[in-house]
């Protein structure tokens, strides 16, 4: 056990923790971004609200979400320790230092970028996560009708009623006619979509989100490839792949997230 603790409190061990937690967060953000694409469906939030029910109900996903909260906390605490230790390593700085000549800005400012992400994250959690879990948010009803074996999802009560009454009248005219509607399900779910819609009418929140995503992008432009170097994956075969994937990830994912507040603000 001794070597285990030592391995995780050494400079290398702490960095390993940063790398593993960072990569887990990267994996999470990919899923999160893909899931949130449901926000762009123009269906009164049905896809999105049903998706949130799935995400908060499924026990496996629930377990992973606790792991995720822990990961954020560990990544954050470890980053504070690392940053303080690193600063202590040079008590007196240079009068003239041309850091741009040998390294990228983002690589030197991971702590600042992380802090911006943290501010964003707290606001984000208070706005949506806490709302969803802790306070009464209005509910909305969606319907699933099984028609001729196909499931049709809709937010429109009228649609459901129209289909059903049409089938009934067909049956009335022709007693041998089989009603094609075999099932109607009614879902009453929390309307998080509405919460999102309202929240993003506030320009300050939109600006904070854009700023947060910009910071995330720069954090990952360095972090993505750095995490692999920390793990010891540095090979002329893999480095170009890691750099390309890292660049694509760090630009596309934050851009997708940034598109969400913009979409609702201008909607």
């Amino acid at each position: 056990m001794n070597w285990f603790i030592k391995a995780f409190t050494s400079t290398l061990g702490r960095k390993l923790v940063m790398s593993l937690t960072g990569l887990f967060l990267i994996a999470f953000l990919l899923v999160h971004a893909a899931g949130n694409l449901q926000l762009f469906h123009n269906d009164e939030g049905m896809s999105f609200n049903m998706y949130t029910v799935f995400m908060t109900g499924n026990p496996i996903i629930k377990t992973i979400s606790y792991l995720l909260y822990a990961t954020f906390v560990v990544h954050f605490l470890q980053s504070v320790i690392i940053t303080i230790q690193n600063r202590k390593s040079r008590p007196q700085g240079y009068v003239k230092n041309v850091a741009n000549a040998n390294s990228k800005w983002s690589s030197r400012n991971m702590g600042i970028l992380g802090t911006v992400i943290l501010v964003f994250l707290v606001t984000h959690m208070v706005n949506f996560w806490a709302q969803y879990h802790w306070s009464e948010i209005p509910k909305k009803t969606y319907y699933t009708i099984t028609f001729d074996g196909d499931e049709i999802h809709t937010a429109m009560k009228d649609t459901v009623q129209n289909i059903y009454t049409r089938e009934q009248s067909m049956q009335m005219q022709n007693p041998t006619y089989e009603n094609k509607v075999t099932d109607i399900k009614v879902h009453r779910v929390k309307d998080l979509y509405k919460t999102v819609e309202i929240a993003f009418k506030d320009e300050w929140l939109v600006i904070l989100y854009l700023f947060g995503m910009l910071a995330l992008s720069f954090h990952l432009l360095h972090g993505f490839q750095s995490a692999w170097q920390t793990l010891g994956v540095n090979h002329r075969k893999y480095v170009p792949i890691i750099k390309t994937v890292g660049w694509l990830y760090s630009t596309i994912i934050p851009a997708l997230f940034a598109a969400m507040p913009l979409y609702f603000y201008f909607k």
Partner: protein
Amino acid sequence: MKFQLKIWRQANASVAGKMVDYTIDGVNPDMSFLEMIDVLNEELIRKNDTPVAFDHDCREGICGMCSMYINGRAHGPQKATTTCQLMMRHFTDGETIYVEPFRAKAFPIIKDLVVDRSSFDRIQDVGGFVSVNTGQVKDANNLPVEKEKADMAMDAASCIGCGACVAACKNASAMLFVSAKVSQYALLPQGQPERKIRVQKMVAQMDAEGFGGCTNTGACEAECPKEISISNIARMNREYFSAGLLQD
């Protein structure tokens, strides 16, 4: 050539230092940076001033003694060049040149531009060697080594231990130095028996000396006069984690 020099002067570790301005004229463009300071020092001695203390030995880029943070860069602006090999023709006439010591908690200032780099020696002392005498040169092919590994070991072994990596790193991290020493032995057959214990001891000593961690900024690699690659740091990470996790 004529230069405005701003040089860090500090009598010893216990007093505060400051940048002091000097003007130097008649510099031969083919002088090295150290020779330029030599000329300045002769002038200072003539004026009964204290000459600027600085480290140097071989003056041909192999001993790793010279240091200096010149114009905001370790060993100055020239790529893959030690201060002793940096020529004045690389500067423009009339330029203002900042000269500071390498700065790190683990490199305390002794005087002016001279810093105490014995922390590197202590890291070497705990594992940067092969404990047994490996004897005379063997017959060729007696102990086969893959060409690629021999080359990588040679590249790592070209580290002269000057400390530019520490000086350039925003965290004053010694990872490039330590990883070069670890790699050099991890890649060769003679290094195998002590492979695991070496990396663990050297990393522990590096941490004890107060060097910072690695943020993978790549500044060390960019400023290293011997162009040691940060792939050595990745190797050290692999060596360290596997030594810890896969202990026999």
